[in-house]
């Protein structure tokens, strides 16, 4: 007798929408609530990012939300730093203390506050707070994540990958994925890969490791790490020699025809030839005369050499491009050894790219108007698309490599066309975006806000944040000669620089959601020393005060003096803003909110509420009204609705105006959050068809984007194949201008500030003996758990609780190694012991592991014998934060010389069999974690709902 079962049980008392926070993808989710508890989370079908799907992390959100590692109340350190000895204090005491520390700094020297915010999704608020405080020392985690990508893209075509743009998944005919990409844009890429493969579109993955997306690629190219730029340049070489590039596209949308002065040794060498109005010049083949390069009535020469009226020579930028990449240095057979990619493969991929771009042209019968007002009946596209992220970014040659990828895309005519790579509004921006960083010496003053934001985009040496001796004004040395085009700051250098007093000491280090004593720092042992070192004369910590906010007992908590406990993502308001890092689609801008779907059961407060409160207590301009009372007494939700960055422009773009009828610009609407909630906690503004492509040169789009404040000008955005900004730095290095690098930096600036992208070996590879350290060591990101938050998750850690070191099977045999052997991984800083696993799908010169699985004993509410702590390991311990000393004793950070991007993937190691054991090395002193609930021995989550049912 078959039992009768209820197949239509009640599923929830209520279903509330909000936005996921298990990674930076920020999908729309629906949270099923029963008896006030979370019963289930699924994806919101209406949401433009995930369209209903959800990933392995998002589906484990319940365990994140209920983690025993959640902090429960503000903590004040009572033991030595790193001891984990705290006492619980009230919020009143915590905020009074923070206010007194910060107030003293603001009254005396605001730069003595270093405020860095890690995986912050509210940088529009946190950056503004820093600016109003008056410290230049602000950044989020971009400098150690992907600033090479952002900077290279924004200085080249006004966009970038991920939040800035995406492939035209629907129409593309060829897709190349560069490097590890399982972290950013995770669900959109997964969904798209499924559709591309089902549509028969070839997917090529270039990555030393074949996991994840690479596993389903049609072609996996297991490149040697750090040589992607050579591969790209060889593809460009092959496309040029075979004349498979889109010259018409170049003449229309790029600076290919702008004339570059060739005047070696002179102050104007390599700058654009300009007319009296400052407009760049081109050679008009029609009239046989020089003309404004921006004129539409010319037949611009892309090649040749011309003599300017004062006798100087000039050549079109494209002539320089062609000269460089036609060079046999970039011929496929020349790059084969370095990259490990056979010349025949390079040539075949080039042929496939050309076939997709030129033989599979996509035509849409959509009329549009170009920047000059000319009407077109159709939108025609070259359906080749690409995505790249951390694998390209995390090398010291990442900026130029990323520029090379964009150059390849542009030469194929595939930016923002049907089937190509598309901008997501508010991108494209001007090149570079017209926001300059502030914090020059005269701009940092007691009791005074900065005149602008701490972060931005510089256009020449005159914009650097240095004093008249060339000394950086920022603690992380961003926008100095060390990292001129930093854009996102160098969070990875803050602790080291602050402790060494280089360029100066700070008084308070204030951080949010950044595990800087563990997996987010290079050279963890040294950083732990910096956090605990004392000045022998005063017996005071070299970094005197550390305030830290986190929701969980991460490794960093024990190194704070004052801990401000944050909520989980289901307990808070948040704003995914167009002013910050929106969730736009290529077809239109989108923003979103988080709403609290459950109330905290602990004495915790959302960090953004706390920051607004501190701002008011410090009476920062903008945070108090004329009477000195808090301007946003309702906390972050009050700010989200009522803050205006410019008249009519606030954190959320939709339902503005008193009646909620305006988009983009409009007065604050007190019902705005209700409208977002009614719509599923997001708003997606789909553009009309005629604005969806060629946004950089589309009259209707540009006018609209200017109107709502995305761009300051509706001039077309001209792709900068040749970067004059880079050349300005090179000229300074060659002795021109009033602002020049110190002699220690001249050669470096001259070498790397090449106005055209090029490939060079990553710094660590160049500096170290290849026979002593023959292998590359990199990390990949497990899709189900790719940063440290995952390890407290009782479900996710059942999938991965230990990371192993993966090694090419053949290489392992050569080294006499077998599966599960323990090995020493030795780098120039020291050694780490780990257990290995053999794998065919790994480049023969490479070993790798999963990122951020390992945990320090005593943290994250894990038992001290948890595999994460006993067997897991970090490569971070081997990655130097500083490069070896140069002549003169100067040590650069281990970063890209243009942007300061942390060069995580430059690490070189050797592998030797270790004695048998059952623990990884090094092991650090276990941290104690008081004031948390005891983790349960067993979970029966869901039992409460079963019992609630009849």
């Amino acid at each position: 007798m078959q039992p009768k079962i209820d197949t239509s049980p009640k599923v929830a008392d209520d279903i509330k929408t909000t936005t996921c926070y298990m990674c930076a993808c920020r999908c729309g989710i629906r949270v099923y609530l029963q008896n006030g508890e979370v019963r289930y989370i699924d994806g919101n079908r209406d949401h433009p990012v995930n369209k209903g799907v959800i990933c392995g992390k998002g589906s484990a959100g319940i365990m994140q939300h209920t983690s025993p590692a959640r902090l429960r109340a503000p903590l004040l350190r009572v033991g030595e730093r790193g001891s984990g000895e705290f006492r619980e204090i009230s919020w009143t005491e915590a905020l009074d203390l923070a206010t007194s520390w910060l107030g003293e700094i603001r009254r005396t020297d605001p730069k003595k506050l270093a405020f860095f915010t890690g995986r912050d999704q509210s940088q529009a608020l946190t950056g503004w707070w820093a600016s109003q405080f008056g410290t230049p020392n602000f950044a989020a985690h971009g400098g150690f994540c992907s600033v090479n990508m952002a900077a290279a893209g924004l200085y080249t075509f006004g966009g970038s990958f991920w939040e800035f743009g995406e492939p035209d998944w629907e129409r593309t005919e060829y897709f190349m994925l560069w490097g590890v990409a399982e972290d950013h844009a995770s669900n959109p890429i997964k969904s798209a890969l499924g559709k591309l493969k089902s549509r028969g579109v070839k997917v090529v993955v270039v990555n030393p490791v074949r996991t994840g997306y690479g596993a389903i690629a049609d072609e996996w190219i297991g490149i040697r790490p750090g040589t992607d730029g050579l591969f790209v340049a060889a593809l460009i070489h092959e496309l040029l020699t075979s004349q498979k590039i889109d010259l018409d596209y170049l003449a229309r949308y790029t600076n290919a025809h702008w004339l570059v002065i060739q005047n070696p040794g002179a102050h104007d060498d390599g700058l654009f030839a300009r007319d009296d109005d400052g407009q760049p010049l081109a050679w008009d083949k029609g009239s046989g005369e020089f003309a404004s390069a921006k004129s539409i009535d010319i037949a611009p020469a892309l090649v040749g050499a011309f003599t300017l009226d004062n006798g100087r020579k000039a050549v079109p930028a494209f002539q320089l491009v062609a000269d460089r990449y036609l060079s046999l240095d970039y011929a496929p057979d020349r790059v084969a050894d370095e990259t490990g990619i056979p010349a025949a493969t390079v040539r075949r991929i080039a042929a496939e790219l050309a076939e997709a771009a030129f033989d599979k042209e996509v035509t849409l019968d959509v009329p549009w108007t170009d920047w000059a007002g000319r009407a077109h009946d159709q939108m025609i596209g070259r359906p080749v698309s690409m995505h790249a992220m951390r694998g390209i970014s995390a090398h010291s040659n990442g900026f130029h490599t990323c520029r090379l990828i964009h150059l390849l895309q542009i030469l194929l005519g595939s930016i923002d066309c049907p089937g190509g790579f598309r901008y997501k509004p508010p991108f494209p921006k001007l090149i570079p975006p017209h926001v300059k960083p502030t914090g020059k010496p005269g701009e940092v003053k007691p009791d005074t806000p900065l005149p602008g934001p701490p972060l931005g985009f510089i256009e020449g040496p005159e914009d650097l944040l240095i004093d008249d001796q060339g000394v950086p004004t920022r603690i992380d040395k961003a926008y100095s000669w060390d990292a001129p085009m930093a854009a996102h700051g160098l969070m990875h250098m803050v602790i080291t620089n602050a402790a060494l007093g280089d360029p100066y000491p700070v008084d308070v280090l204030f951080m949010y959601m950044a595990n800087m004593s563990w997996n987010s720092s290079m050279n963890v042992p040294a950083v732990l020393g910096h956090l605990t070192d004392k000045d022998p004369k005063t017996d005071e910590y070299k970094i005197p005060k550390i305030i830290y906010s986190d929701a969980y007992y991460s490794e960093m908590v024990a190194y704070a003096d004052l801990v401000l406990p944050d909520t989980t993502y289901l307990e808070r308001w948040d704003c995914v803003s167009l002013l910050d890092r929106p969730v736009s689609q290529a077809d239109g801008p989108a923003d979103a909110i988080r709403q609290p779907v459950v109330a905290p059961d602990r004495d915790v407060r959302p960090f953004q509420d706390v920051l607004l409160d501190l701002g008011a207590r410090l009476a920062l301009p903008g945070f108090v009204d004329d009477a000195g009372d808090p301007r946003y007494p309702g906390g972050y939700s009050d700010y989200i609705v009522n803050h205006e960055r410019a008249p009519g422009i606030g954190p959320l773009a939709a339902w503005r105006g008193t009646d909620g009828g305006e988009y983009g610009r409009g007065a604050p609407n007190k019902n705005q959050l209700e409208r977002y909630i009614e719509n599923g906690c997001f708003h997606y503004h789909e553009l009309p068809e005629n604005m969806r492509f060629y946004k950089h040169a589309n009259r209707d789009y540009l006018d609209w984007a200017k109107g709502i404040g995305f761009i300051g000008s509706s001039e077309p955005i001209v792709f900068q194949l040749y970067s004059e900004t880079l050349q300005k730095f090179r000229l300074a290095a060659c002795g021109h201008g009033t602002i020049q690098p110190p002699d220690t930096h001249r050669e470096r600036i001259e070498t790397y500030f090449d106005p055209l992208p090029f490939w060079y070996a990553p710094f660590e590879e160049s500096a170290l003996d290849g026979s002593e350290f023959p292998l590359h060591a990199i990390t990949q990101r497990p899709m189900h758990m790719y940063h440290s938050w995952g390890s407290q998750n009782a479900w996710l850690r059942q999938i991965t609780a230990q990371n192993k070191l993966y090694i090419n099977r053949q290489k392992a045999h050569e080294l006499g190694l077998a599966d599960d052997d323990w090995v020493w991984i030795t780098g120039h800083l020291g050694r780490v012991r780990a257990q290995i696993s053999l794998m065919d799908g790994t480049n023969e010169h490479t070993v790798w592991t999963w990122n951020a699985i390992a945990k320090r004993k005593g943290t994250w509410s894990l038992d001290k014998d948890a595999p994460e702590a006993t067997k897991g390991f970090l490569l971070n311990h081997l990655i130097g934060e500083l490069l070896p000393e140069r002549a003169g004793g100067y040590r650069y950070s281990n970063s890209d010389p243009i942007t300061g991007q942390a060069a995580w993937f430059d690490l070189r190691v050797r592998i030797e069999k270790a004695e048998a054991g059952d623990e990884s090395r090094p092991q650090f002193e276990p941290l104690s974690a008081p004031h948390l609930v005891d983790p349960p021995d067993e979970l029966e989550y869901g039992l409460q709902f079963r019992e609630a049912r009849p």
Binding site: Q2, I5, T7, S8, P9, Y40, I41, D42, G52, V53, I54, G56, S59, S191, G194, K197, S198, T211, Y213, A215, I216, D218, E219, T241, S242, K244, A251, R252, H257, K285, G286, P300, L302, V303, G304, F318, A322, L326, R348, E352, A354, H784, A794, W795, Q798, Q810, D840, S861, L862, D863, D865, A866, P867, P936, L939, E940, G942, L943, F945, R946
Partner: protein, 252 residues
């Protein structure tokens, strides 16, 4: 011994596309999350923050390599109950707690009559049954029997949680007894196969094999582009030809 229905009205099951499964674990945790509060509630976890965390999961994904060297593949393989037409896991059940539903073919365990003897897990060659150590009973994929007919869910959500979650679209749900269903057609078109068919349990769930890769090992042979070699003995080089080609009248 428990008897099986002679026939079932439908053969509900999953079709899993190994060509596009990236191993992201979305189906795994989404299944756990639904079912720990669903028909099988709870799916307990032992030592969840300790040295050996383990629990009852109704769906798991394994990743491994197949083949050797250059022709090897990395494969992600989702594994759950296949709702076999002739399952020994049901017939070995001494209490009748394991049964196959006559209306749709779903194999279920009645937690009220399961005695936790584990005979079924020994009988299943697919390792699809999961013992719940806290509850002392056997758990298994229910094909989300409390979702697929659930009138409290939107109609489009009446699919198993794993199918609802899957970002790449690698999982499909339907009636494999109906030759005209979308799932049957995809099995037909793509050469869908039975897991361990020789065992004779006649699994309802099917797997779609990876499509042939189009790399150099599998005949990708787009001809190289022309004019790639430098000219010899005064003949115009590719570089010269390139500049001649590029020196043309272009419009803005």
């Amino acid at each position: 011994m428990t008897t099986l229905p002679q026939t079932t009205e439908k053969k509900l099951g999953l079709v899993i596309d190994l060509d596009i499964c990236v191993g992201c674990q979305a189906c795994v945790t989404s299944c756990k999350e639904w079912n720990t509060s669903g028909y099988s509630a709870p799916l307990s976890d032992q030592d969840p923050y300790g040295s050996d965390p383990h629990g009852a999961w109704l769906n798991r994904v394994h990743g491994y390599e197949i083949g050797d060297g250059e022709t090897s593949l990395t494969l992600h393989f989702p594994r759950s109950c296949l709702h076999c037409e002739a399952p020994d896991c049901v017939t070995v059940c001494p209490t009748g707690a394991s049964y196959k539903r006559a209306e749709d073919g779903i194999v279920l365990v009645d937690p009220d009559t399961c005695i936790g003897c584990k005979l079924c897990s020994w009988a299943c060659p697919y390792g699809a049954r999961e013992y719940d150590y806290a509850q002392g009973v056997m758990k298994k994929c229910t094909l989300c029997v409390d979702r697929i007919y659930n009138e409290n869910l939107d109609e489009e959500d009446r699919v198993p949680a794993c199918v609802r979650a899957c970002p790449t679209g690698a999982r499909a749900f339907g009636d494999l007894g109906d030759p005209d269903s979308a799932v049957s057609k995809s099995v037909n078109d793509r050469g869908g196969f039975d897991l361990l068919a020789d065992f004779g349990y006649k699994p309802v769930n099917k797997y779609l094999p990876p499509r042939p890769r189009r790399d150099s090992n599998n005949g990708a042979n787009t001809p190289f582009l022309e004019s790639t070699a430098p000219g010899a003995n005064g003949a115009q080089s590719a570089t010269d030809r390139f500049f001649a080609w590029a020196d043309r009248m272009l419009a803005r």
